[in-house]
Symmetry: C2
Subunit: 329 residues, 2 copies
């Protein structure tokens, strides 16, 4: 690493005082543009990075936005993050990401860590948290936005869709298409509160139509194409006369489709399939699978807007989940 570069070294190279060099690197208004550019160029040439901690202590605020998500392993949350990044791109704010692995205790730790840095804002997935996490968010001295879900009691700002409504809408789409022997396969149950809400809405709507669920599999593991393939095979072995399967995620319905390709089952004639999220994954398959657009990118954008605006009153942005019938129903 060689000799440690100090602000003093930059000041000497630029022929200015340490105070002027520091002010130049912070972009303070009372430094001439020429001096600022000179100091910045020298810092860049030698690889000096100014220390932000001191400045943050003075302002008691850092230019980071904490984003707390359960997982990065499907493209669900990366797309929310893309929406956030697209809005922060031309601002001084930078997103930093924390992952909770669908564990509320871990989430509490990550939220505490993020807030201890006095970020410019914090975005947290979901409305279900430990009581301690809710209290920290309620006391935070920055905008707090809960994203994805509106079915619950937000701490402050909230951007999302109703997952109850998403489940109901897909049930209606499936019933309208004439299916009667309907099964459900969910993953990360019950930790995935949003998947559980979709199932609740789905069952409500079936009940209204006098249809009951023919079979279901609530799997505790993660969603994956492999699990979608295997669980579909198992469920069909147990209940062979199912005519339609609804899944907690697109990753699972793609796996089910792979089972159908492998087993020579025609979709939707022999088995209809529907997932959730409208992931990119669905594009490029031989047929378009039914899904619900969860507006993930737009949710990220709206959350970033709230952090940039920092409105005084609690804000609720509710987007409408859109059921897409595709070619698999």
């Amino acid at each position: 690493m060689g000799k440690k570069l100090l602000l003093k070294d930059i000041a000497n190279l630029a022929g200015v005082s340490e105070m002027t060099a520091s002010r130049a690197l912070r972009g303070a208004p009372d430094v001439s543009q020429r001096t600022r550019e000179k100091v910045e160029q020298i810092a860049k040439d030698v690889g000096y990075v100014p220390n932000r901690i001191a400045g943050a202590l003075a302002s008691n605020k850092v230019n980071l936005v904490g984003v707390v998500v359960p997982s990065l392993n499907s493209s669900v949350f990366p797309e929310v993050l893309s929406g956030i990044s697209s809005k922060l791109k031309d601002t001084p704010l930078k997103p930093v990401i924390g992952v909770t692995a669908y564990d509320l205790e871990e989430e509490e730790e990550v939220i505490r860590e993020m807030l201890s840095w006095r970020p410019a804002g914090i975005v947290v997935a979901g409305l279900e948290h430990t009581e301690a996490a809710r209290k920290m968010m309620a006391n935070a001295d920055c905008p707090v936005v809960e994203v994805m879900d509106v079915d619950g009691d937000p701490v402050r700002h909230c951007v999302g869709i109703s997952h109850l409504a998403a489940g109901r809408a897909m049930a209606r789409t499936i019933l309208d298409a004439g299916y009667k022997r309907i099964g459900f396969i969910g993953t990360k149950m019950p930790q995935d509160f949003r998947a559980e809400k979709r199932l609740t809405g789905f069952l409500e709507e079936l009940e209204k139509a006098g249809v009951s669920l023919a079979d279901q599999e609530l799997y505790s593991g993660a969603s994956s194409i492999e699990n979608g393939h295997l669980l579909t095979k198992e469920l069909l072995a147990r209940t062979p006369d199912l005519d339609c399967l609804y899944f907690s995620s697109d990753v699972m319905s793609v796996g089910a489709y792979m089972h159908c390709v492998a087993a020579g089952l025609s979709v939707p004639d022999e088995l209809a399939l529907a997932g959730f999220n409208n992931l990119n994954l669905l594009r490029g398959l031989p047929i378009k699978l039914a899904t619900t657009d969860a507006h993930r990118f737009a949710i990220g954008e709206a959350a970033a807007d709230i952090i940039l605006d920092a409105p005084k009153a609690a804000k609720l942005v509710q987007l409408e989940p859109e059921a897409i019938r595709g070619q698999s129903l």
Copy 2:
């Protein structure tokens, strides 16, 4: 947000001085366990989060590990991150993630931002950076680990595979299987330096065997199942007698497989396919697609170990890329 909670409030509730409350929340050794637990419980009950900025200024170090990756949209980098997280889980260090969108100028900005917080370490994907980014990393007062790739000149520590070797190994596997009319489809070329190195190694090995590439498509956009499907269709329309296609990523070879399913082409009899990364995505397909295991989780683990150990001498951890023939060659 109500009245802002101050350290004073916690101290009053606990019946201790502000100094003692501060020391208790920092886990300082000269506070009794009973007092520490009492203060921590009160902070938790009321939702108070201690301010870490002041402590960081004193130690000139924060307990964050910066992880700088080009993209989160496939599961390539999330799995490196899972490896890092698995090692940091039981330490005070927390990963924070920055995304560069395969743009070296953006990467330089993200690295500057990360280093300005004086992190406990920084992990950066790849060996190609701007000169300014390399200088900042060389001067950083913390362990710097470049991950994924060993074909180049690391700034300091390095963990990865040789992508030249990965390309050569897959060429040998394909040649050994008897294919002669071989095509290549790559994405994010030339920004994806590692994909370019694999292609270089692949072509070298074909040349040794006296085989030249029958056709290729170097696509500037991102890899996706959809693009794999479409580009395969286009390449086959242009060069119908190809017997094998090598892709810069598994996401693309899965898209090619979808084209084969849609077009009724038998894999590998009518078209052989090979990708790269050994993504989870490959599990659950009707057949196992050929790929190369890039050891992403192990790379993340090894990088975290280096940050935790902070060795004085530059460390190089080179893992062996493993070509997997699967059922598609």
